[in-house]
Amino acid sequence: MKDAKSSHDLLTLIGSAIEQLQRGIELFETSSKREGAACLATVIQSIDAYLAHAQEDPLLQLARIDSSDLSDDLQHVKLDLAAVIHQVEDPREN
């Protein structure tokens, strides 16, 4: 059972994000690029939702994680995913 804060802790975010990304890879490999991109978009939304409440995450203090470093790292993840989504939305025309 998840408590109210569970959706805003870092490891829950990472666990669900990795699951979504692995599913995204499977979808891309089966040519469902749009669905794969939707998985990636979900991860970006989850990261945004987490970052909006990151200061309330006890894990950061517990694990002595610097929130600005973490934010930078997650921005890099978003950047990579956004680039893939952009390529899917703007397919090559030959």
């Binding site: 569970s6 802790d9 870092l10 490891l11 829950t12 990472i14 666990g15 994000a17 990795i18 699951e19 990304l21 692995q22 995204g24 890879i25 891309f28 490999e29 690029k33 794969g36 990636l40 991860v43 006890p58 894990l59 203090q61 517990l62 694990a63 002595r64 994680i65 973490l70 930078d72 790292d73 997650l74 921005q75 890099h76 993840v77 978003k78 950047l79 990579d80 995913l81 956004a82 680039a83 893939v84 952009h86 390529q87 899917v88 703007d90 090559r92 025309e93 030959n94």
Partner: protein, 267 residues
């Protein structure tokens, strides 16, 4: 002579302008100099550069800097576009604009950072492969590698995928280190790789994201489990009960088991 008729600014397509540019560059009189035609093409595609640069705003870099990087890609596209290949110019230009912006961001941020533990594991993998080859005269199978490293086969597969993404990064770094401004890929080159390059690029980026996330996860776990504090001490610091700390750690372990597909211990 209808080809040479000026269509008016609103009706000039990229391809039409590029055709004129090629002819002007060959010495044909088309009513404009090559410089004027290049400037017109760039001006016509300013919106394309801006729209692509906007997609990278989450990098934290100023929009003007992203646009400047994008212009380099646009200028390369104008110089290298091959009309005979029948690709659309905007498709080719988008590819090069994105490439230059990504390169700019990587230079600034080292976007794709390979976590130290991934590098260590890959080194162990390589050593195990070499040792096996020296001993038997043939490369090891997946199960033999797994046995040598005391890992499961799916974990070895994950490591090999990680190595694939590292290889991709090093290729790009080698290319850029040999020449800071390497020649952009031609349209012919892109066509030749089409169909296999794009999915690989997707996979590389998603794997980089996963590696980044697992790296963060390891930082959290290291902070949680290797500081030598008791659950009560941690609870006191955070203003929560020892029981809450215990539950939190249990959930973290569950997440880790799910992520790495490790079986839960039986109670």
């Amino acid at each position: 002579m209808s080809e040479q008729k000026d269509l008016g600014a609103a009706n000039r397509s990229n391809e039409w302008l590029l055709d004129r540019l090629r002819r002007a560059s060959d010495g044909e009189q088309v009513g404009q100099t090559p410089q004027e035609l290049r400037a017109e093409i760039v001006e016509r595609n300013v919106g394309l550069v801006k729209s692509i640069a906007l997609k990278f705003l989450s990098s934290g870099e100023p929009l003007d800097d992203l646009i400047q990087a994008g212009y380099i890609g646009l200028l390369n596209a104008v110089s290298n576009f091959d009309l005979a290949r029948s690709n659309r110019f905007s498709t080719y230009a988008s590819y090069l604009i994105q490439g230059e912006i990504r390169h700019f961001i990587r230079d600034k941020h080292s976007t794709i950072r390979i976590p130290q533990w991934v590098q260590t594991m890959n080194r162990r993998l390589k050593e195990a492969e070499e040792a096996y080859f020296q001993k038997t005269g043939r490369p090891p199978t997946l199960s033999e590698l797994a046995a040598a490293l005391e890992l499961r086969e799916d974990q070895i597969t994950a490591l090999l995928r990680g190595r694939e993404s590292m290889t991709y990064v090093s290729i790009d770094q080698d290319r850029r280190s040999q020449d800071p401004n390497p020649a952009p890929p031609t349209t012919e080159h892109l066509r030749a790789k089409d169909g296999e390059d794009l999915p690989f690029d997707f996979r590389m980026r998603i794997l980089a994201a996963i590696e980044q996330l697992t790296s963060i996860q390891r930082q959290v776990v290291a902070g949680l489990f290797y500081e030598g504090k008791s659950q009560s001490e941690i609870g006191s610091e955070l203003g929560i009960s020892q029981r809450q700390v215990s539950r939190m750690k249990e959930r973290i372990l569950d997440e880790l088991r799910d992520t790495f597909h490790v079986d839960r211990p039986e109670n």
